[in-house]
Each structure stands twice: as structure tokens, then as C-alpha cells.
């Protein structure tokens, strides 16, 4: 195979483009800019860490099933870990959102990073909502019967039936977590490509 043919392969072109955009030292940097040493920059990674616990405890719940998480001490414990890691996930994500909003984190060509963050937030809300519907208790029955009127009013109820436990469970443990994790990975990669957004005074100094 000639060099020209190798250059034209989609694998070669994709590898070169990926390595050009995101070399290993940029993907996993040794140091961060000085302005990152503030507590407000901690909440992105706190969200990420809690997402890892959410996924891990969700996998344990999926392995053992509802009888386990309703009927045993260890099942209750893992169920509570799953709930509270979600609470911390949203708590940290909202503070991360406020911090990035007030520092206009879409500056410097970071628009797609902001948009992936917003979409991940929306997908996470849908994931949490279907989680409430998948508890298999009176709480989930109550929430689903209250929510059905809202969803039906949009016309979406014909396709997305909140009273259908099987459908809501599949959305909660397959489709929405895949979307949330893929979007989070994309968001983090975009942060690595463009770098962490600097404070306003730093970007003014750079512009001067």
C-alpha cells in the first residue's frame, strides 16, 4: 500500500485529527492555570465524581433487583447511596452551572462546551425523573399518576408513557444513562480541547 493510500484512509485521517486536537499532554495535563485554584472550579469534578458513584450504585441495584433494595439492610443502604449521590450530583452541577454562567464560560470559542453542559443537565433531569418512576413503591405510583397529565397535555404520552413501568425502567437504566455518560464525556473532552475558561480580568490581559 502506497503512502498516499495510507494517508487517505479514514482511520489515518481520524487518528491524525484526534492527535492534533487533543495530544496526550493536553488530555491529561500535569498542571492547570493559576486561576483554577479556586473552590468554584471544584464543582465540575465534584459532579463527575458523584456521577461515578451514581453509575456504580445503579449497577449494584440492577444486579440484585427491587426485592433486594426494598427488603434487605444492605439493599436499603445501596439504594440510599444511589439517591444521595444523585442529590450531590445535582447540588454540585447547579453550583457548577451558576459559576460558569456568571463567568460567561462560553467565551473563547467554548459555545459547544456550554451547550453540551446544558443538554447534559436536561438529560440528567429526565434520568432522575424516570428514576423516581422506577422505585417500584407507592411513591413512584403517586409521581407517575401526577406526571401523566402533564406529559399527556404535551401529546408526548402516546410515545412516552410514564405509567408504563417497564418502559420507564428501560429509559432509566439504558437509554438516558448512555446519553448522560456520552454527553459528559464529550463535555469533558471539549473542556480539555479549549481549556478551562479564564476569569474576565485574565482574558482582558490576554487580549491586551
Amino acid at each position: 500500500m502506497s503512502t498516499t493510500e495510507i494517508d487517505r484512509q479514514w482511520t489515518t485521517r481520524l487518528r491524525r485529527r484526534a492527535a492534533g486536537k487533543l495530544p496526550p499532554e493536553k488530555l491529561l495535563p500535569d498542571t492547570q492555570p493559576t486561576y483554577v485554584s479556586s473552590w468554584i472550579y471544584v464543582f465540575g469534578v465534584a459532579t463527575l465524581a458523584s456521577l461515578v458513584v451514581v453509575i456504580a450504585t445503579g449497577c449494584l441495584l440492577a444486579i440484585r433487583g427491587p426485592q433486594w433494595w426494598h427488603g434487605s439492610y444492605i439493599g436499603h443502604f445501596v439504594n440510599s447511596l444511589h439517591l444521595w449521590s444523585v442529590e450531590i450530583f445535582f447540588f454540585a452541577m447547579v453550583i457548577h452551572l451558576w459559576g460558569k454562567f456568571f463567568m460567561a464560560a462560553w467565551r473563547g470559542g467554548r459555545g459547544l462546551t456550554w451547550v453540551t453542559g446544558v443538554v447534559t443537565f436536561v438529560v440528567s433531569i429526565a434520568t432522575a425523573f424516570t428514576g423516581y418512576l422506577s422505585q417500584t413503591n407507592f411513591d413512584s405510583q403517586w409521581i407517575s399518576t401526577q406526571a401523566k397529565d402533564g406529559i399527556n397535555a404535551t401529546g408526548g404520552g402516546a410515545y412516552w408513557n410514564v405509567l408504563n413501568v417497564g418502559q420507564m425502567l428501560m429509559w432509566h437504566i439504558v437509554l438516558l444513562p448512555i446519553a448522560a455518560v456520552v454527553l459528559t464525556a464529550l463535555h469533558v473532552l471539549l473542556v480539555r480541547v479549549k481549556g478551562v475558561v479564564p476569569p474576565f480580568e485574565q482574558s482582558t490581559q490576554v487580549a491586551q
Binding site: 485554584s37 479556586s38 473552590w39 468554584i40 471544584v42 464543582f43 447540588f91 447547579v94 453550583i95 459559576g99
Partner: protein, 60 residues
Amino acid sequence: MSHFLVFAAIFPLNTLGHYLHWHIFLISVANLVVIVLMIVTFLVALFAPFPGRRRRRENR
């Protein structure tokens, strides 16, 4: 088990929730507490000194 009972006595979660109602605004006390905690954490994150920040500036 006794630890759980003591905890349950301090934070009774098996009762009706408390709500605050003002005109068209209705919010549970639990949700209000979480929102206030988020605002406080946000302000603390903005103004609390970060460990090692001065050392990094001096090394720069």
C-alpha cells in the same frame, strides 16, 4: 438498629412534609433548605481561600 431509631427521632421522615405558601408560591421546607444551602455553598466557593493558592502565585 438503635442508632437508626435515634436518627429517625431527630429527623422524622415518615411524616407529612412542611410547606411554605405565599400567594402563588408554594415550596416544601426541604426544597427551600436545599436551595439556601446551594446559594451559601456558591458564595463560600467564591470567597473562601483555596489551599495552596498563595504558594502557587509566589512560585509563578
